[in-house]
């Protein structure tokens, strides 16, 4: 059930409980950074992150802030700067549980969640050490294969995140959200139990009633809370209107190499 009307970014972030399985888009896919700062401010703990399909700055920040217990993702990098420094540090220190995955498996897990089915089969991956590390990905013989054909195939279990959190362009008063081409966010919201969205702006009409907007709209049915946060993806890019703040990202990559540097830039960004 949706709360009526938009809420504050703090209220939205505050509704994410400690221990939640939290699904987050890739750095190019509409990241709710303003809400992430709010989540860190409130001292979130033991989050189990799920990358859709990969992870970046947002996850590195959450790890550095001590908010993350597990991370399941297909990749973890800060753009051209490579592996996130806080992620790398947490791996060295131990305590962070990482479940390495691959992009199509992350998508397939959410599609299975969306369809209410226990798993989705997926080609490829066979014979890799990635698969060897995933005891939760069974390999079965394709029941449709010919008798002489072993045809092993990987099954990806469904994932239904407790919370999905992302940033989008527009929401209307009914709670419909315009995601445009970012359809993985629709799959994600379908699969998730609760979907929280920050948006650049409110749309005056009903998005579903506009034939040009409706095809890029996630219906209110799946949206638990909306908060308005203009520029809410900073310092990450959002669409063509909000390019990445390359200076801020470069500063982060450098600063976060040390505990003190990370603490300083985090304090600055949380102000």
């Amino acid at each position: 059930m949706r709360d009526p009307g938009p809420v504050s970014v703090n209220a939205l972030a505050g509704s994410i409980p400690d221990g939640a399985r939290l699904a987050l888009p890739a750095d190019y896919g509409g990241v709710a950074m303003a809400a992430t700062f709010a989540l860190i401010r409130r001292g979130a703990r033991r989050l189990r992150l799920f990358g859709v399909p990969t992870s970046g700055l947002q996850t590195d920040l959450l790890i550095g802030a001590g908010a993350v217990e597990t991370l399941e993702t297909a990749g973890m990098a800060l753009g051209e700067s490579g592996v996130g420094p806080r992620f790398r540090d947490a791996l060295r220190a131990g305590g962070l549980v990482v479940r390495d995955s691959t992009c199509p498996a992350q998508h397939a897990a959410l599609q299975a969640g969306e369809k209410g089915i226990p798993f989705l089969p997926l080609r490829g991956i066979l014979g890799t050490d990635l698969l060897a590390g995933r005891q939760d990905w069974p390999v079965i013989r394709n029941p449709l294969a010919g008798e002489a054909d072993p045809d092993p195939i990987v099954l990806i279990p469904a994932v239904r995140p407790d919370v999905a959190l992302f940033h989008a362009a527009l929401a209307d008063a009914a709670g419909n959200v315009w995601i445009g081409l970012r359809r993985e966010l629709a799959t994600l919201a379908h699969a998730a139990r609760r979907t929280l969205v920050t948006v650049e702006a409110l749309h005056p009409g009903n998005l579903l009633e506009d034939p040009l907007m409706a095809p890029g709209t996630l219906p209110h049915l799946y949206v638990a809370q909306v908060a308005v946060a203009p520029g809410g993806s900073w310092p990450l890019a959002f669409g063509e209107s909000h390019p990445a703040d390359d200076g801020a990202l470069a500063r982060y990559s450098e600063a976060a190499k040390t505990d003190d540097g990370f603490a300083a830039i985090l304090a600055e960004w949380l102000r």
């Binding site: 896919g29 992009c103 490829g124 045809d151 970012r182 390019p243």
Partner: protein, 240 residues
């Protein structure tokens, strides 16, 4: 080479572009500036017969069904070419994108899947050393061939490094050309796995004048929003 400002990146982009010539479609993953430049160069030269998808670039994205579409497209048999790198690459075409010892790479991304499904996989790693080109990868992120009995429509066709170009056939690499300044001997010294040598290994051809104009002009401009440091530092740099 004539007296031109050919950066190493431009040289490699031109080499990679030739590895996907004839493709109808090519996709480029994240953090892959030189392959992205190569794909755009190939697109220019294919005169509309090549569809280029560059992950993260809104202008080079022909897909409208979200993040999964490129992977589904590949499994449908519609994606001809893809570039893959590797923290380690071994002589069987296996690649490691995850970790060696306690060193962590960014992760496997789509490799474990695309390597098995895309017919023309171009392996690319600029660093050509025994640290990268190893006898056996520490962690198999994606397999160059097999495993036996598995459904498979894809695999590596070539390997391009900062020193040479290899062809991949029958589960192993064959050196087909050495970049300027390299010889079969220097390549062998820097390569940790065994490889065959083509009957007629030649110097690798660099970019044509037209290639260079395209790479330093419209292609650098197109990639600047996605790879600002790469385009600033490398593609337009004045030292090869």
């Amino acid at each position: 080479m004539r007296e031109r400002d050919v950066t190493k990146s431009a040289f490699l982009a031109a080499v990679l572009a030739r590895c996907i010539a004839g493709s109808g479609s090519v996709a480029v993953g994240s953090n892959s500036p030189i392959p992205a430049a190569a794909a755009l160069l190939a697109e220019h030269k294919a005169a509309g017969r090549l569809t280029v998808f560059i992950l993260g670039s809104p202008r080079h994205n022909p897909f409208t069904d979200g993040g999964r579409e490129m992977f589904d497209f590949a499994a449908q048999g519609r994606l001809d070419s893809f570039f893959l790198g590797g923290g380690e690459i071994d002589g069987t075409g296996d690649i490691n994108l995850l970790r060696t010892g306690d060193h962590r790479f960014p992760g496997c991304y789509g490799a474990p899947y695309l390597m098995a499904l895309v017919p023309n996989i171009v392996l690319f790693r600029e660093e050509h050393s025994r640290r990268v080109l190893v006898p056996r990868v520490d962690f198999v992120s994606a397999r160059g061939s097999g495993p036996e009995g598995a459904y498979r429509t894809g695999g590596p066709k070539s390997l391009v490094t900062g020193r040479a170009v290899f062809r991949f056939t029958d589960g192993g690499f064959t050196l087909v050309s050495c970049h300027p300044g390299e010889t079969v001997e220097t390549i062998r010294a820097e390569t940790g796995f065994d490889f065959a040598v083509a009957a007629d290994p030649r110097p690798t051809e660099g970019p044509t004048d037209e290639d260079l104009q395209l790479l330093q002009g419209p292609i650098a401009s197109a990639l600047a929003p996605l790879y600002p440091r790469f385009t600033a530092r490398l593609l337009r740099g004045s030292h090869a």
